[in-house]
């Protein structure tokens, strides 16, 4: 039997945690397939967007595509998107946080049952769920049928920004509930008990202990709701009757009509904006390295 004695070399563990494959065995090569893939399918495409965004049809360098974001039409779309996505994110947060707290206090045999119930709607196709809302909100849809039955005036929600907000909240609420819930159940009950023992009121306990500890989950949730809702074009197409034009619709339309330069220009601005806000947000959450998915 071979006895490998190379492994007894003392090597400084600079990563500080986890599986330590002694560098003698150099597994870095394992990452080469991935690096090549990444370079080809993540980096180069992004460079392409930057390239298209910064040039115009005559192949010259130009900032005109970027400046298009200031164009009144695009500005309106951007502000509307911001307004709707911020509102939806806030609503999701307000709805999700209490729910997460309630859920952590429930004694259930296995808390994965709760997770299951909440994930289940997410497994339904995203488009189908949005279409379902179209059915509910339509002029001749479910709500108006019920109202007509009760001789109440019809509600005209479809094809308005309100419908879009509804659609966004509906689609993204589970994404806000889960991260917060995951973080909350990991809080050691002993810590809370200790605080109470030391005389803190529920309110103080909440503000000083629970809230700060739950922050990574909140940040995670906000990320998972804000970005998709800011850039969606599907929800506004299905629930907006082509009357509501969000920034996602603008970009999609530009690409559909073949204006790759203008489309890329607007996408670039959007990308930078998102990355900046994410960077600011993640300042308050240094540990996660993005692993707060579940």
């Amino acid at each position: 039997m071979k006895v490998l004695n190379k492994s007894t070399k003392q090597i400084e563990n600079s990563s500080g945690h986890g599986l330590h494959v002694p560098r003698v065995y150099n597994v870095k090569w394992l990452s080469f397939p991935y690096i090549i893939w990444m370079a080809g399918f993540i980096i180069v495409p992004l460079i392409l967007i930057i390239f298209y965004g910064l040039t115009n049809k005559e192949e010259g360098f130009s900032l005109e595509n970027i400046s298009l974001i200031a164009d009144p039409v695009n500005r309106k779309a951007l502000f509307l998107s911001l307004k709707l996505s911020l509102t939806s994110t806030a609503i999701c947060l307000l709805l999700a946080y209490p729910l997460a707290i309630i859920l952590t206090n429930i004694k259930m045999k296995s808390n994965s049952f709760i997770v299951l119930i909440l994930i289940l709607p997410m497994w339904m196709n995203f488009l189908l769920r949005t279409i379902a809302w179209q059915n509910i909100l339509e002029k001749t849809g479910i709500i108006n049928n019920m109202l007509a039955f009760l001789h109440l005036p019809a509600l005209n929600i479809i094809n308005t920004p309100t419908a879009i907000i509804l659609g966004m909240v509906y689609n993204f609420l589970p994404f806000m509930i889960l991260p917060i819930y995951n973080v909350l159940i990991k809080i050691d009950k002993d810590v809370i008990n200790a605080a109470r023992d030391l005389g803190a009121s529920w309110r103080q306990t909440f503000i000083k202990i629970i809230l700060p500890l739950s922050l990574p989950g909140v940040v995670s949730g906000i990320t998972m709701v804000f970005v998709p809702s800011l850039t969606t074009f599907v929800i506004s197409t299905i629930l907006g009757g082509s009357k509501i034009v969000l920034i996602g619709n603008v970009i999609e339309q530009q690409f559909r009509l073949g204006n790759w330069h203008t489309g890329s220009g607007i996408s670039l601005v959007l990308m930078v904006f998102i990355l900046l806000s994410m960077a600011i947000l993640s300042k308050s959450d240094k540990e996660s390295e993005g692993s707060n998915l579940w």
Binding site: T8, N13, I42, M124, I131, A132, D188, G248, S264, G290
Partner: protein
Amino acid sequence: MVKKFFERFYIAIILLFLYAPIAILIVLSFNASKSRAKWGGFTLNWYKELFQNEDIMSALTTTLIIALISSLVATILGTTAAIAINSMKKTPRTILMTITNIPMLNADIVTGISLMLIFVALKFTLGFTSVLLSHITFNIPYVILSVMPKLKQLSPNTFEAAQDLGASRVYAFFKVILPDIFPGVLSGFFLAFTMSLDDFVITHFTKGPEINTLSTKIYTEVRKGIKPEIYALSTLMFVTVLLLLILINRRGAEKKAPVRKV
């Protein structure tokens, strides 16, 4: 207690909100009348029509095949990458993790568009393969992010110990490391599978005329007017997933919620 009542009431309302639209879709799938608002009698017709509808069935097959293959490939690439990244020094690790995070942070419309641009630049005809490659691309980060935490939890010495006892590198990997990180690999696989199944935007930009996934097929139907077969399909999907999740939950490992010490 009043508090308990309000709590239960609140949960009930949220659940109602989440499930009402799905309930409506299910009900409509049995509606004999094509109209969305009027009940025309109970029928199983749409379920029959669904299975005879070539377009929808082929879209369904395509969706499943793409999801399966892309998540398999992503799992392999992602797991190996995670192991490699984990053994790197801080700087290259941070760089690679940042780039890994890009497809997830970026709006999917930007990811979809960027992928379309590169396919066109390479004069690569858009079709099944372009969609598959795109799905693998956005799936890998999910796998890496699922496997990494598991890698971090491993004891540093297990690998060495195995080799001290005479195992070759490969043997040690498959018999010692893989079983320990397997939950992460598995959840990465399922996560990738789910993301691929549900994807619309990226597929929308990278597909060719011959290919339709379920999502893109539904999208074209939305603009024309929904066929009731779609409701039947959505009901079947819901029931399938419900059964699957119940099964998994029954067999499933109890999630040990690691206690967070302050």
